[in-house]
């Protein structure tokens, strides 16, 4: 199991488009368990409904928890997506 805490840096937070980008990525790891935690709330990162329920605004701290096949690879890609501000603010 790997874990890493990331901060949401794009100005509009985890709204529909970034949430969709995140779900697209996590769905590439069908056999791996990927969870997101924020303020005690934990959701499945492959569910757009779950991700949006986090209501993560800019500055929110999100704990990524990955368990299973290719967990390091999945974590690296997720970290890149966070760092890339989900492709926004460019």
């Amino acid at each position: 199991m790997v874990k890493k805490k990331m901060t949401i840096e794009n100005s509009s937070g985890l709204h529909a488009r970034p949430a969709a980008a995140l779900v697209k990525l996590t769905s590439k790891f069908p056999l791996t368990k990927i969870l997101l935690q924020k303020d005690g709330l934990e959701v499945n990162a492959k569910s757009i409904m779950g991700v949006m329920t986090l209501a993560a605004e800019k500055g929110s701290k999100i704990l990524i928890i990955i368990d299973g096949q290719d967990e390091d690879k999945a974590l690296n890609q997720l970290v890149e997506l966070f760092k890339d501000k989900f492709g926004e603010d460019k």
Partner: protein, 580 residues
């Protein structure tokens, strides 16, 4: 008979049956399932999801075809929700565990999600809550076998009455079935209002207690000029509105023959009569009503209809298409004038008590240089045909204007470095909409190529009146002597510095004001495309020399009432057929 008042959002009069979209009163049944029913219920639910997905795909295609690809993106989030396996499995397992009907299970899960989204202070995420609401309703309707939501299934033309109109609600509808819109929520820039103007159907928004006062099957009159909505009018009122409507129709027919003629007074003073637009779809009316060009292109819709900021490329495409269609006539683009919260996620705890005195317009742009420069570069890139001008809103001082100009210069420099072509001499204007800008007009005029007076804000800030506030809205007066003085001062400051002065606020489109404004020396009037013909007709029928005398009379008068009744008498005598 009940008379309700809202904000006039699109002009014209409609009389007809009400088609009510009573969105929040969905009946949720409570049924307990027997063993044999459970699998069927799951299947029913999945069918509803599938069928909703098909509908949304169709809407998406429809929107992309009619309005452009960018608008279709509104539906992407909807589709992803419908394909969210984790969520669907949750609903299915709850149906099985609770042995309850799918509508109820689904409704409760959606409601919970929606509540957690609505609870945040985040504007963007809050807006997503309405996406959830939208999809919740759609699926519920499917489950209940009730397709009432689809407006396009209306059998006879009707006035659409609803709490609010979301984009997906309005997609499939045909203009021929719509007599008008009335919504409880919304302002002049709401989706319903923008759509109504683009479709040219009468519309009123922000009608307080609308749904409380209206029942399915009621008759109604909407007057999109005055903002009145009359529920179940009596015969006398119907007759009155019928003749008003007929008058409007005859009048608009009489205007067809002057479309290609200039807005020139009898004594040969030519006025640049242009149109205000907010959607590219309005270009058809701009052209068909014989406009000189675009005097105000409000760019806010680009920022409002999507959940993310528009890119330079998207803006460029949008501006370019307008510039090309209007060429060789001029197009003036106003840089965004929005409350900051609409474009940028505002930090928690920074709620504004006085948004109109707060973070809006150019102030937001200064705080977000990239946002501002992205728009400026898109505008510059679209300027290669040399018929595009740009203007800044909400300028309150010379310092601010100089700062805004520095941004423009920086944007030019960035384009030069990349060898991207643009109009080096692009004309620059400033909106005169704050009293301080009027007082600084002489200095401002030396820095720009034109002024455009924004009366809506100028009046609001001068008279300290929010006209949406019914308690004080009667104090919001076009013809207040102080307002006229400010307009006159602006014109003089502009002309003393050899720049032209226009007006793009609503006052420019008030037929009562035409004599006065022409007489005060305005060089350009920019009005809603729907009223352009009427104003042109007036200009073509008057003498500039008379207008000067009339404006001098008005400037000497002491009260708004006196000025208004003076102008009204002149107009009634000279133009008995013009609806005022």
């Amino acid at each position: 008979m009940i008379n309700l008042i809202g904000k006039a959002a699109s002009p014209g009069i409609s009389i007809g049956k009400v088609h009510l979209l009573d969105e929040d009163q969905i009946q949720i049944q409570d049924r307990t399932l027997t063993d044999s029913e459970i699998d069927k219920e799951v299947e029913r639910f999945l069918n509803a999801i599938k069928s909703t997905e098909d509908d949304i795909k169709k809407f998406k295609e429809n929107v992309e075809k009619n309005l452009g690809d960018a608008y279709g993106e509104i539906f992407d989030a909807h589709l992803m929700i419908l394909r969210d396996k984790v969520f669907l499995e949750k609903v299915i397992s709850e149906i099985k565990i609770q042995r309850k009907n799918s509508d109820q299970v689904f409704y409760r899960i959606m409601k919970k999600t929606q509540e957690s989204l609505s609870a945040t202070d985040d504007k963007y995420l809050k807006e997503r809550a309405s996406d959830f609401k939208d999809i919740k309703r759609r699926i519920l309707r499917k489950l209940q076998g009730d397709d009432r939501l689809c407006i396009h299934q209306i059998s006879e033309p009707a006035i659409i009455v609803s709490y609010e109109l979301t984009p997906s609600l309005t997609v499939g509808l045909e203009k021929s079935k719509i007599l008008g819109f009335a919504t409880e929520l919304g302002g002049r820039t709401s989706h319903a209002a923008i759509l109504a103007r683009a479709l040219e159907v009468p519309s009123i928004v922000g009608v307080k207690d609308l749904l409380k006062n209206i029942e399915p099957g009621d008759n109604a009159i909407i007057d999109g000029n005055s903002g009145n909505l009359i529920v179940n009018p009596d015969n006398e009122v119907i007759e009155k509105y019928k003749s008003l409507k007929e008058g409007l129709f005859q009048f608009s027919k009489s205007l067809e023959k002057i479309i290609s003629l200039p807005a020139k007074t009898l004594d040969d003073k030519e006025i640049d009569l242009s149109a205000n637009i907010e959607l590219p779809q309005e270009l058809d009316s701009v052209i068909s009503y014989g406009s000189h060009g675009i005097g105000l292109y409000r760019t806010e819709y680009l920022y409002l209809l999507k959940s993310q900021l528009p890119t330079e490329e998207e803006q460029f495409d949008d501006y370019k298409s307008i510039v090309q269609r209007i060429y060789p006539n001029p197009v003036i683009i106003r840089t965004i004038d929005l409350g900051g919260d609409k474009v940028i996620k505002t930090p928690k705890g920074l709620k504004e008590d006085n948004p109109f005195l707060g973070w809006r317009g150019i102030r937001v742009c200064f705080d977000y240089p990239e946002l501002f420069k992205t728009q400026l570069k898109a505008i510059l890139r679209a300027s290669t045909m040399r018929n595009l001008a740009v203007m800044f809103p909400m300028i309150s001082s010379l310092d601010e204007l100089i700062k805004a100009k520095a941004f423009l210069e920086e944007s030019k420099e960035e384009l030069r470095k990349q060898n991207i072509d643009f109009d080096e001499n692009i004309k620059l204007g400033v909106m005169i909409e704050l009293p301080s800008a009027v007082l600084a007009a002489d200095e401002l005029a030396k820095e720009v190529d034109f002024f455009s007076i924004g009366t809506n804000d100028l009046i609001q800030y001068t008279l300290a009146v929010d006209r949406a506030n019914v308690r004080v809205s009667n104090l919001y007066q076009f013809y207040h002597p102080a307002v006229l003085k400010l307009i006159k001062m602006t014109v003089e400051a502009g002309h003393n510095n050899n720049i032209w002065v226009g007006m793009c606020g609503e006052m420019a489109g008030d037929p009562l004001a035409t004599y006065l404004l022409i007489g005060m020396g305005l060089d350009e009037l920019s009005v809603s495309p729907l009223i352009l013909g009427e104003i042109k007709q007036i200009i073509r029928s008057i003498n500039y020399s008379d207008a000067v005398k009339i404006s001098e009379e008005c400037l000497n008068m002491k009260s708004a009432d006196e000025i208004e009744s003076y102008l009204s008498n002149i107009m009634k005598e000279k133009f008995p057929t013009i609806p005022l």
